[in-house]
Structure formats: structure tokens, C-alpha cells
């Protein structure tokens, strides 16, 4: 699979909104999706790489990345009217049904690669979304952390809205 170029004019910085994280889950027989990051000012995927470096007798370093454990925190994650994901997580929280936190599919869409109608994306199945706390000052905040499974299917999405279709790369 060839490396995709950045689809921006030369030297243009990629706006943050072009990196999109979307949660997907099943409610009964209905598939639900919701973009993450509404009212969040800053959020990054941290790869938490396990790195091992050895140095030979000549002083040359050899570094191995043994594994990554990607994680993305959303803080604040404000409880907003109309948010089905917030309702889902709050329901799990109330019941302390923590086993249900690991049922999410997460899409990471890099809209700065690919083309309109075929934005590149990666699909992680069996991911976990954990609520870290609930409370706050003026508004109810329930910061969450997304733990990616690394069970990845690479592909594209046809549009940037909840009703997108994911197509796995050939």
C-alpha cells in the first residue's frame, strides 16, 4: 500500500479538526456513532511506547519499540444534551458495569490524507472507553480516556459525519 501524501497545499499546517476520533457501539440492534472532542480544547493520541535501548561496546545505541499502547484523553468531556455516548457511559457508570466499557470500535480519521469522499482512516475494534471522574465546577464534566486495541483495519471513510461508510483497504 503506497504512502499517501498530505492533501494540503505546500507548507499549510493541518488544522486540528482534520484529525477525528469517532466512537462506535451497538445499542440493541442499532449501531451508534459519535465524534469525540466536542468542547475539548486539546487532545492527543499518546502512544505510550515501550522502548528498549541497548548500547554496544562501541557506544552505538540500538533502540527497539516493543509495543505501543495508544490512549487518548478527553478532558473536559462535558455532559452535553443530545450526546448518546455520554448517556451510554453514564448508564455504565451508574451500574458499575465496567465490563461494558470494552465494547467500542474507534475510528481515527486522518482527513489530511486521502481525498474528498475517501478520507483515510483506521478502525480499532474492541477498544475501551473509561470514565475517569465526574463532577466539575459550573458544568458537569466526565473526563474519559480511550484505550485503543491496536486491532487495526486500515481503510477510508466516504464522509465526515456520523453516517459514514468505512471501506477496508484492499
Amino acid at each position: 500500500m503506497p504512502v499517501s501524501p498530505i492533501n494540503l497545499p505546500t507548507h499549510q499546517r493541518a488544522p486540528r479538526k482534520l484529525l477525528i476520533t469517532v466512537a462506535e457501539w451497538t445499542e440493541g440492534s442499532t449501531e451508534k456513532r459519535e465524534v469525540l472532542g466536542r468542547r475539548t480544547e486539546d487532545s492527543s493520541i499518546e502512544y505510550n511506547a515501550d522502548i528498549e535501548t541497548t548500547t554496544d561496546i562501541l557506544g552505538i545505541n540500538y533502540t527497539d519499540v516493543n509495543r505501543t499502547q495508544p490512549q487518548q484523553d478527553f478532558d473536559p468531556y462535558l455532559i452535553l444534551g443530545g450526546s448518546e455516548l455520554a448517556a451510554k457511559l453514564n448508564d455504565i457508570r451508574k451500574r458499575n458495569a465496567i465490563e461494558e466499557l470494552s465494547q467500542f470500535t474507534i475510528y481515527v480519521i486522518t482527513a489530511f490524507t486521502g481525498t474528498a469522499g475517501a478520507y483515510e482512516a483506521e478502525k480499532h475494534v474492541n477498544c475501551t472507553i473509561a470514565y475517569n471522574s465526574i463532577g466539575g465546577d459550573t458544568n458537569v464534566n466526565m473526563p474519559i480516556s480511550v484505550y485503543f486495541s491496536n486491532d487495526i483495519t486500515v481503510g477510508t471513510v466516504d464522509k465526515l459525519s456520523d453516517d459514514f461508510t468505512f471501506t477496508a483497504a484492499a
Partner: protein, 159 residues
């Protein structure tokens, strides 16, 4: 994009304090019991940028109210209201109306690209800005600054 100034004027007209006395936009030939809608600009750098491309913004304006003054001492008897005191109480009504609208989540319509979140006054009482002695009668100048918090979603990518 909706005209926010017109949207706020259309909204304020529903307030009895504004409805029952003339309202002027920025320019005014001040007389007793008139109101001036004074626009204010907000520093863009105070905007809050969110990772989805939406931006938290403030729309700020001041309502200046002119009231004729008197120099009669307060009579310490019931049923003898002092004009200056009753004027202040009257102007306070706008603050109470704004607070009520915020509780009811009744906000100006900034159009489909904006989500209005809150409306509030920056003070709990009107500010007394002084006496305009160039007019006859002299006019007391009171001001109330009002802020509307809204999210501009026009640049949001994910709909």
C-alpha cells in the same frame, strides 16, 4: 450568517424596560428615559478553540440608560419614593430580565451556525457612570454590560 446585532435588538425588544422607552443603536441624542445600545468588540485571542473546529466566542454589548435627575433628599417616610432610587430600581429590571431569560434558556437567535449557551450581565447592579450636565434637565447615566456566550460551529468539519 445571521446579523447578531439585529438578533440582539429583536431579542431585547421583548424586555419591558427596552420596549417602553426608545432604544438607539450606538449613536444617541440623549433624553430622559432613553436607552443606547453600545456595541463592544471582543479580543479574538480570548476565543476558545475546540479540536472539532468550533470556536467559543462572546458577544458583548452595553445598554446605557439616561434618566433625569433630581436633587431632592430622600424623604424618610413610606409612600414618598425618591425619583433617583426608583430610576435605579427600574433599570435593575433589565438585569433581572436577562437573568430570567438565561434560566429559561431563551436566547437571541444567532442562526444555525451558532449555538448560544448563556446570556448574563457582568454586574449584579447597574453601574452609575455619572451625570451629563450638558443636557437640560441633567441626565444620570447608568450602564449594564451584557455578555452572550456562544459556540460558532461554522468551521466545524464533523456535522
Amino acid at each position: 450568517m445571521a446579523d447578531k446585532h439585529q438578533a440582539v435588538i429583536d431579542y431585547l425588544i421583548n424586555c419591558p424596560n427596552i420596549l417602553n422607552s426608545p432604544l438607539y443603536f450606538n449613536f444617541i441624542n440623549a433624553e430622559d428615559n432613553t436607552n443606547q445600545f453600545l456595541t463592544k468588540s471582543n479580543d479574538k485571542y480570548t476565543n476558545t478553540k475546540y479540536i472539532d473546529g468550533s470556536v467559543g466566542k462572546l458577544y458583548t454589548f452595553t445598554i446605557i440608560t439616561f434618566k433625569s435627575v433630581n436633587d431632592i433628599a430622600i424623604v424618610k417616610l413610606p409612600d414618598y419614593p425618591n425619583e433617583n432610587v426608583s430610576d435605579m430600581t427600574d433599570i435593575q429590571g433589565l438585569i433581572e430580565w436577562i437573568n430570567e431569560q438565561d434560566e429559561l434558556r431563551n436566547f437571541p437567535n444567532f442562526g444555525e451556525d451558532c449555538i448560544v449557551e448563556a446570556i448574563s450581565t457582568t454586574t449584579d447592579e447597574p453601574t452609575f457612570d455619572g451625570i451629563d450636565e450638558q443636557t437640560e434637565p441633567n441626565l444620570a447615566v447608568y450602564s449594564i454590560t451584557i455578555q452572550i456566550e456562544y459556540i460558532d460551529i461554522s468551521k466545524r468539519l464533523w456535522r
